[in-house]
């Protein structure tokens, strides 16, 4: 009894009941303090080595593992000891902080070099995974790469254990420690590098152990008197502090995890799985973003200014990911007249400003020239002359949420009609449906239309050589578009252009993927480099198919909107809502006959509909694989079920069968293990227990034997089954040895005379209920009786 301790703490007595006081320490013994310390150290060690070591093992980074494990173990032991008392916890954390600071400063060269070494190795893997030419590279100060990483890992083990210990705290917060530790593994797993099995076991054992401690409210340390008394006042006596139990639970989890990881590795080898696995839709969709993150860090995920569909009057490179809201920006009322795309131009870029990453129209000559409407005049003349192949159209544009500006259809003269949000304007336009008769277009005055900035010359020249651009302007445009289509995939998440990098150069040399602004800007410089006057244009583009699908037919006289030749067989007035999904950038090139006309160089976008899916569709897509998505998109679902899990089950059916066979083969092993355990029990039992074990086995065997015997002897199956169930149940439910022995005698299992049976009952009672051990003679005698019965 620990009365002095109680007095010291000045704890009041606990009233267990009226007149019954709980005095002194509830704990009479301090069982398992060391074991508990080891358990806590073990799961700290497992979590830290499992996550940090697992990450490095996934990337096959070489370092002195023994040093890492040793330092992790020491740090884990130290951290585990911190919870032995409150004062030590406070002082201990201060000490470890001082130690970490001191070692961090002393070894900063090695630690930073090792850290950079790890980052460089990860970066190399990431570059390979993203198939990116760009690679983040940090300068390592220490030549010996492995040594520096080893030092860094030892240091990280110390820091990791301390942080993990703090996160777990006294309350075994498993989520707090699971999330960061799993996050470490997300990096390699995302990059399709898997940690070694040992690390998976370590991490899982660590997390599960913390979890079970939490769920069982198992204290990480022996509760102090105050806690115990507080609980006791709530009619709860805490005695759940057992180092042996905690150690056994840890071992049980470790054994289970090891067995399962081994079996999984046996039947689903990691290499085979990695070869066969299919990417999830979510991962495919986020790869661009992750690549941006990898290359540019957090900044690569940010949009630096608001845009409409990624476009903002010639500003470039500040948009990491185009987020479309598909809300109507403009409402167009017009009569469809062509199968081609209808462009509504709002911005013209004349001069490209490298590194400022924007298109400018500051040059006065260029500005005037950009809004010149000589082509519109010539088309109007042709229409008024009444020739076939010419037309005059009117388009009423209502600005719902777009920026204030002009939205000119090709070709219009109303360059001054600005439309503010909430207002409308009607543009008269003369579409180009046939060759323009008569004189050629007005010659160009500004030299900007062929200007390629010096900073971009090298990248543009290299690209032209790479793409093999040559021939007439039409041929060049076609080749360029095809090359973009083949080599420069379209994405709405290209990532922002890094600081101090030029937008076009970065697109052409490093990133090689983007959306319309990237293609249009680059194409303008490329075409200029090839001697073709070109300029950058922004606005909205509406495809004929979109009009056919989404436009609403409205009441109105067609002749009020359209006169002349139409390429469509029927004419009617429609209203179409153009959203930010229609925002577009394109190229205008100059032709001596036609003047300026729009050219499309942006590759076709795939998976447009995916962006419109709801969160539930996204969830459903989780279960689809890359192939399924392609099948669905292509409308061919003849391969597979469309469900990755079912497909996986189908493809792994032989393995499952094989696994079942192995499991069946494990049955005898299981039986042997059980027998071994039973034998162990028997060997370590005292004489009384030995007798009881023998007797129990005999009863079980006899029950089973009796059952078999009756099954053989009586033909009526159902009746026998019923009868035997009762028999077996009877013997196991009998409350005392007298009844059991009587039953055994009745069924001729025990054939001895009454005296021997009485002796057996007496000895069994003595063995079971007496504090004294039975004598060796009694054991021998009763064993003889039981042995006879067993035979």
């Amino acid at each position: 009894m620990d009365k002095s301790h109680l007095k010291k703490k000045n704890q009041p007595n606990i009233v267990l009941s009226e007149g019954i006081l709980l005095t002194g320490s509830i704990y009479g013994n301090r069982e398992g303090k060391l074991a508990n310390l080891l358990v806590r150290a073990a799961f700290l060690f497992a979590i830290v080595t499992g996550s940090l070591g697992g990450m490095l093992s996934a990337f096959h980074i070489s370092y002195a593992k023994w040093a890492f494990f040793l330092s992790a173990f020491i740090a884990a032991l130290y951290c585990a000891s911190l919870y032995s008392s409150v004062w030590w916890e406070n002082i201990g954390y201060v000490l470890i902080f001082i130690f970490a600071m001191y070692t961090g400063l002393s070894l900063r060269t090695y630690i930073s070099s090792g850290f950079y070494g790890i980052l460089n190795d990860i970066s190399a893997s990431a570059s390979l995974f993203f198939e990116s030419d760009a690679q983040v590279n940090y300068a390592e100060q220490v030549e010996n790469h492995s040594f520096a990483i080893s030092v860094a890992m030892c240091y990280f083990a110390l820091i990791g254990c301390t942080i993990a210990n703090g996160l777990i705290s006294r309350k075994s917060k498993y989520l707090a420690v699971s999330v960061p530790s799993v996050l470490f593994l997300l990096v390699p797993i995302y990059l399709e590098h898997e940690p070694a099995a040992g690390y998976i076991i370590l991490l899982t054992v660590g997390i599960v152990t913390v979890y079970i401690h939490r769920q069982n409210q198992y204290p990480c340390h022996q509760p102090n008197i105050k806690t115990l008394h507080k609980a006791a006042r709530r009619h709860t006596l805490l005695g759940n502090f057992s180092g042996t139990a905690a150690m056994t639970a840890l071992l049980a989890v470790a054994i289970l995890c090891t067995i399962l990881v081994s079996l999984t590795g046996l039947f689903f080898p990691k290499n085979v799985y990695l070869q066969d696995k299919k990417q999830s839709a979510v991962k495919l969709r986020t790869m661009d973003t992750m690549e941006n993150f990898y290359l540019l860090g957090v900044m690569g995920l940010m949009n630096f200014y608001p845009t409409t569909g990624g476009l903002e009057s010639g500003r470039l490179g500040g948009v990491s990911s185009v987020r479309l809201d598909y809300e109507p920006d403009l409402t167009l009322e017009f009569v469809p007249y062509t199968y081609d795309r209808i462009y509504l131009k709002s911005f013209t870029g004349a001069e490209y400003l490298p590194y400022e990453n924007r298109w400018s129209i500051d040059d006065q000559t260029a500005y005037v020239e950009s809004w010149r409407h000589d082509t519109a005049d010539r088309l109007e003349d042709a229409f008024l002359s009444g020739k076939d192949g010419y037309a005059k159209g009117k388009m009423k544009i209502t600005n719902l949420a777009a920026m204030t500006g002009v939205y000119l259809p090709y070709y219009s003269k109303a360059s001054g009609s600005m439309i503010r949000p909430g207002t409308s304007a009607t543009y008269t336009f003369f579409p180009l449906l046939a060759e323009i008769p008569g004189s050629s277009a007005m010659p160009l005055e500004s030299e900007l239309w062929l200007d390629v900035p010096e900073e971009n010359l090298e990248a543009v020249a290299a690209f032209c050589a790479e793409a093999g651009l040559s021939g007439s302007p039409q041929e060049i445009v076609t080749k360029l578009r095809n090359y973009f289509q083949a080599e420069f995939p379209y994405t709405l998440s290209p990532g922002a252009t890094p600081r101090r990098k030029d937008f076009v150069n970065y697109f052409l040399t490093d990133k090689r993927k983007g959306y319309c602004a990237h293609y249009a800007s680059s194409a303008v410089l490329i075409l200029r480099y090839m001697g073709i006057p070109a300029r950058y244009a922004e606005g909205y583009a509406v495809d004929a198919t979109e009009v056919a699908e989404d436009a609403k037919r409205i009441e109105g006289d067609v002749s009020d909107y359209y006169e002349g030749t139409s390429l469509l067989p029927q004419s009617f007035v429609v209203s179409y809502d153009a959203s930010d999904g229609n925002a577009h950038a394109w190229v205008e090139i100059y032709d001596e006959n036609l003047g300026w006309y729009p050219v499309e160089v942006t590759p076709y976008r795939t998976g447009t509909e995916e962006d419109r899916t709801s969160i539930w569709d996204m969830f459903a897509r989780l279960f689809q694989t890359e192939e399924n998505i392609e099948d669905v998109d292509a409308g061919t679902q003849d391969g597979g079920t469309g469900n990755a899990i079912l497909d996986a089950i189908q493809s792994s059916a032989p393995r499952i069968v094989f696994a079942l066979i192995i499991l069946l083969m494990l049955v005898p092993v299981w039986i042997a293990v059980r027998k071994g355990v039973a034998l162990y029990h028997y060997k370590h039992a005292d004489r009384s227990e030995k007798l009881l074990i023998l007797y129990r086995n005999m009863v079980h065997r006899a029950s089973r034997g009796q059952r078999r015997q009756k099954l053989h002897s009586v033909p009526d199956g159902q009746a026998i089954q019923h009868q035997l169930t009762i028999s077996v149940r009877d013997v196991t439910s009998m409350k005392n040895f007298e009844e059991q022995v009587a039953w055994l005698a009745e069924n001729n299992i025990l054939t001895q005379d009454e005296a021997q049976l009485s002796y057996l009952i007496r000895t069994l009672n003595e063995a079971a209920f007496s504090q004294r051990e039975i004598t060796a003679d009694a054991l021998a005698e009763t064993c003889k009786i039981i042995g006879d019965a067993a035979h």
């Binding site: 007149g19 005095t23 005695g239 139990a245 639970a249 399962l260």
Partner: protein, 354 residues
């Protein structure tokens, strides 16, 4: 060996189940998004963990046996006693949490409180949980546990089963040598049992009924009961010999009064025993509707008598009709001693029977 199968009930903790499902679903989502081998393995582990954990708890609940014992059977008020709860586990399985529903109280006064004892169960061994308790009231202190539950490692399932753990401790009044007590002077020849011829000189009374043993007198056979039980039953008689002083304990039904009477009465009876008197102690038992009687010739016998008295609730011991009952049950007595509470003090009085 206890071959009786335990009745088990499974309780599911919804909160813990939800927590597990949360972890499980996060794992599945991580697997579906990343398609990583690590998450596949973790998925398998978490899937297997649930049944393994349940089976472990289910099996373990069959292998554990609990007992409670005290270092001594009697104690005095204020004396510290160690109560030890021992949990024996005969398997290699373990549990980090088991709850033992304790019922602790004084059966004499009928005051009980429920407590939950939370214990971790180590594999193949004993877990001892000692409690230092001090009793401040007289009576029979009972430490009992009728139910226990073993939680699985994940904390989702708890297997409830019955158990029979009980230990009793009698709290006896402390003897003080300063108290002087004497039989009232008038007791001589009055308080002693007066022989009477009304019952044929057989002044014994039936104290118990038991099965027949060789040597029992045929006249003691309880024929009616024997016929009913189809087994010979005999009446066990206690003789009220003339050398014993009959002392009736007139226990009040108020706890504080009873406490006082028992304490002071204990002292006085011990003093009487010191004068080499033999006392036949009588206490009314409402349940039996007769008097419990104890032959007390020495302090040890007095302690035993008190222990027996404590076995029955105080309220069953008190009655306002004691005189009447005495007259009916012991008509052969002319008078007897009675320990009763007068003006907040225990007084030894002579009561005339009738």
């Amino acid at each position: 060996m206890n071959t009786e199968k335990k009745t088990k009930k499974i309780h599911i903790s919804v909160l813990h189940l939800a927590a597990f499902l949360l972890v499980y679903i996060i794992n599945i989502l991580l697997f579906l998004v990343f398609r990583g081998y690590t998450f596949l393995v973790m998925w398998i582990i978490f899937t297997a963990l649930l049944p393994c954990s349940f089976c472990m708890a289910w099996r373990l609940s069959s292998y554990i046996e609990g007992s409670v014992f005290t270092e001594k059977e009697t104690a005095g008020p204020g004396e510290a006693v160690e109560i030890i709860i021992s949990i024996q586990n005969r398997s290699f399985l373990c549990a980090l949490k088991s709850i033992w529903y304790l019922n602790i109280g004084n059966s004499f006064y009928g005051t009980f409180d429920h407590h939950k004892l939370i214990l971790a169960i180590p594999p193949h061994g004993k877990k001892l949980f000692p409690m230092n308790v001090t009793m401040t009231e007289l009576g029979r202190i009972v430490f009992a546990c009728k139910e226990c539950s073993v939680s699985d490692l994940l904390g989702i399932f708890s297997i409830h089963s019955d158990c029979a753990m009980e230990s009793c401790l009698s709290i006896l009044p402390q003897s003080e040598s300063t108290v002087q007590a004497s039989v009232p002077e008038a007791h001589s020849g009055v308080a002693e049992l007066s022989e009477s011829s009304r019952k044929g000189n057989d002044h014994s009374e039936v104290s118990d009924i038991r099965t027949y043993r060789t040597g029992d007198r045929p006249k003691d056979i309880h024929w009616k009961l024997s016929a009913r039980n189809r087994e010979l039953m005999v009446k066990e008689r206690v003789s009220l010999s003339g050398s014993e002083h009959v002392l009736l304990l007139n226990l009040p039904n108020q706890k504080a009064d009873a406490e006082k009477l028992l304490s002071e009465g204990y002292q006085q009876i011990r003093e009487l025993l010191g004068t080499r008197l033999t006392i036949r102690l009588l206490v009314w038992n409402q349940n039996l509707f007769s008097f419990e009687n104890y032959s007390v010739g020495c302090p040890e016998e007095l302690e035993n008598a008190y222990c027996q008295i404590y076995c029955t609730n105080l309220f069953s011991h008190s009655s306002d009709l004691l005189r009447q009952y005495m007259k009916n049950c012991y008509p052969q007595l002319n008078s007897y001693l009675c320990m009763t509470l007068r003006e907040d003090n225990a007084q030894l009085e002579i009561w005339v029977n009738g």
